[in-house]
């Protein structure tokens, strides 16, 4: 049987890879994908906990996370399309209209 800690290690590593990606990538689409990766890292931890506790609520929370991720993707990608029509690029460093 695989100990819980192995799953937690995978989950932590995935979350960290998402964070690293957010820090050094610049196009918004990839940043968005890194956020999805972070959510998935958390999901893995939740399901692992729900298996080892055992409490089914972990799986329910993952269900809601996936729902929220779907809504987030719909709105986020719509924003990106609007931004691209406006600016002709999706470079996070050149989207600086709000900076003083």
């Amino acid at each position: 049987m695989i100990p819980l800690s192995w799953y937690l290690v995978v989950s932590a590593v995935l979350f960290t890879i998402g964070v690293v990606g957010i820090f050094f990538r610049r196009d918004l689409i990839t940043l968005f994908m890194c956020i999805e990766l972070q959510l998935n890292g958390v999901n893995l931890a939740l399901i692992a906990f729900s298996r080892y506790l055992p409490d089914i609520s972990g799986q329910i929370i993952v269900f809601f996370v996936i729902t929220v991720a779907a809504a987030e993707a719909a709105v986020g990608l719509a924003i990106m399309i609007a931004l691209f029509h406006h600016k002709e690029h999706l470079d996070s460093e050149r989207v600086n209209l709000m900076q003083g």
Partner: protein, 163 residues
Amino acid sequence: MTTVFFLIFALTAIGAAVAMIFQRNPVYSCLCLVLAFFALAGLYVLLGAPFIAAIQIIVYAGAIMVLFLFVIMLLNLSAEERERPKRPRFLPFAVAVGGLLLLELALVFRRAPLLGMPAGQSETSVEEIGLKLFTDYIYPFELSSVLILAAIIGAVMLAKRKI
């Protein structure tokens, strides 16, 4: 046997995730992420959550990532990617922050009280999830439907109006 499968899925997920953040072409990034989601679905099956694994593939890999791919293709982003500078400037900083975060997570998880616990019940059925979802979690469930409605309206508004 389970250990072998765990190692295959875990290494695939991590490898695909690393490949995703280092790919310069957004389509490749997208495909790597889909692979990572598949590996995660495999881990969910190992954890006795086949329903969540199926949802993961249908919603994440089948809908959300297709949407990403659709937008990448629609905006033809791969052509733009070639004009970028070769070396990302923030890579050392990012790796440092990532290492710190990993250390921190490791410290937190070491304190988790159930590390030595054996696994619980074998496999959750769809009925159990449905019962829980429509009894204890009925309000979050209804709220999430409102959230999705808001997201639909927001997406339509954003896509329609010229900013």
